[in-house]
């Protein structure tokens, strides 16, 4: 009941480790976000008791990958340990190599793949191979925007090809394609699902936990598209035990990211 009480007492989630595995910074084309810079997300995190968030720079996913990852690095540097980076490769630039972001401690902890806004590039496209090889070698998580069944299948193919990297299915565990995501999680031990979606009905997180087990579900907010409160509250008020909620809020991700 601890987390239900925190919601209704309108208090931050202090005393529990909260790691948001699915965040964004930067302006997003075509939709109006709330405040989306490092300062504003850390303000929200402080207020809500979120320990850390893993982010990619949204405009960099679409356009200049180098600029985008450099901005992510700047924000990670400014908020060390609170904002963690996903390096985002771009399949259309042969010179794209994101390994430099992991060469020293620049705050990067994983890779972000968002093929559907990169010319509808399949998530398992060979042009992403350098990033997958890097992740496989360093046992890094790779967060896929995987909403549709075919996106989930392609992310699963990466899990099959690279058994030492960890695939996070972003969104898909709670969309209409959730059965697909569950099947993939059951087939591959290195696949996880996050909670980043605004439109999932009540009961969906409990359903996912029932299908793939508590250890494979990770808190993701999709902040700054959404307010992180939305999904935090849904987890806090879910029909799960406090211990299960703590695993989703951050303990699973802490272990996954080796933090």
């Amino acid at each position: 009941m601890r987390y239900e009480n925190l919601v209704y007492e309108q208090k931050p989630f202090d005393g529990v480790y909260v790691l948001d595995v699915h965040g964004h910074i930067g302006f997003e084309q075509g939709s109006q976000l709330g405040p989306h810079d490092g300062k504003s997300i850390v303000h929200t995190m402080d207020r809500m008791g979120v320990d850390a968030v893993c982010v990619s720079y949204s405009p960099g996913l679409r356009g200049d990958w180098k600029r985008g990852n450099d901005i992510t690095a700047q924000v990670c540097g400014a908020y060390r340990g609170r904002v963690l980076g996903y390096a985002a490769p771009n399949p259309f630039h042969k010179d794209c190599d994101v390994s430099e972001y992991f060469a020293e401690d620049r705050g990067f902890v994983g890779i972000k793949i968002h093929g559907n806004i990169q010319g509808e590039t399949p998530e398992n496209d060979p042009r992403y191979a350098h990033a997958f090889e890097l992740a496989n070698k360093r046992k890094l998580p790779v967060l896929f925007h995987a909403w549709m069944p075919y996106e989930i299948d392609r992310a699963a193919d990466v899990a099959r090809q690279y058994p030492d990297l960890k695939v996070i299915i972003g969104h898909g565990g709670l969309t209409f394609a959730r059965e697909h995501a569950v099947a993939v999680c059951k087939k591959y031990d290195n696949v996880y699902c996050d909670t980043a979606i605004s439109s999932a009905p009540d009961g969906s997180i409990e359903w996912l936990v029932d299908k793939i087990g508590i250890d494979r579900v990770l808190y993701g907010s999709d902040m700054t598209f959404f307010d992180c409160i939305h999904t935090m509250g849904k987890i806090a008020l879910a029909k799960l035990t406090d211990e299960e909620k703590e695993k989703i809020f951050g303990l699973n991700a802490k272990s996954l990211f080796g933090l």
């Binding site: 309108q10 709330g34 605004s198 009905p201 009540d202 409990e206 409160i229």
Partner: protein
């Protein structure tokens, strides 16, 4: 804090996912868990086009619990497909109905005055708040609808995360537009809205069963706004709109 859910749905969805709480008993259980004192509900059969039959089914369904209040779906009376305004007013009064929901796109009719004048004149005169999903009046159509009927209190629901640039100018131009908080999820969305437009124009709702009541109450409880603003959003604004209804 107590909540009044200004709009949710009852009845069997076409494709309920396993675990989705859509049965009335499940909705009531969620209301208990989420401290929702009352819920204004419309019926999926009405929303799917059998308007009068669906409104009738709703009246039967809400007999299960006094916490459920009716929200009737409505359309223009053209071709006698729906009640004329006088008959609608009488039926609403008889059944204790104080809110309406329209769906111009879903019901395939124009939302402009030549098509909806009688129904909207009734809403203006009776001060019955009129709800609709954003998808029913997208972009410029939202302005057209709200500006055509300045005396009608409109509550737009199901707005999601990417609509502030559409909503903002209409909120500026049309003081009769209110926003339902169910799935209004932009980062720091409620605090930003309160700063620009005041908490007076936010109405708590869940969009159950497709929306999440747990997320909806959390967004209000944990928003970075004052206690007074939260109470207005959670129940005060809806109570104010209801108190103005004259049937």
């Amino acid at each position: 804090m107590r909540f009044i859910d200004a709009s949710c749905r009852l009845g069997m969805p076409a494709a309920p996912g396993e675990g989705m709480p859509w049965k009335t008993e499940e909705i009531l259980e969620l209301m208990d868990r989420c401290h929702i004192e009352q819920a204004f509900a419309y019926h999926i059969v009405a929303r799917d086009g059998e308007v009068e039959d669906g409104n009738g089914l709703l009246m039967e369904e809400i007999k299960k619990d006094s916490r459920l209040q009716p929200q009737w779906c409505a359309m223009p009376a053209t071709f006698r497909e729906f009640l004329h305004a006088d008959a609608l007013g009488d039926a609403m009064k008889k059944n204790g109905v104080k809110t309406l929901r329209i769906a111009p796109k879903g019901f395939a009719h124009s939302a402009m005055p030549y098509a909806m004048k009688e129904l909207m004149d009734f809403a203006a005169q009776s001060r019955v708040p009129v709800f609709f999903d954003y998808g029913e009046a997208v972009g410029d159509a939202l302005y057209d609808l709200c500006s055509a009927y300045p005396d009608v209190k409109f509550v737009v629901t199901n707005t999601a995360y990417a609509l502030n640039r559409f909503l903002g100018p209409v909120l500026d131009a049309c003081p009769n537009l209110y926003v339902g908080t169910g799935n209004y999820v932009p980062h720091q969305g409620l605090e930003t809205f309160c700063r620009y437009y005041s908490a007076d124009r936010l109405i708590f709702n869940t969009n159950l069963p497709f929306g999440s009541a747990t997320a909806a109450v959390s967004l209000v409880c944990l928003a970075n706004i004052s206690k007074e603003e939260k109470e207005k959003i959670a129940c005060g604004n809806m109570e104010r709109l209801l108190s103005e209804v004259r049937l």
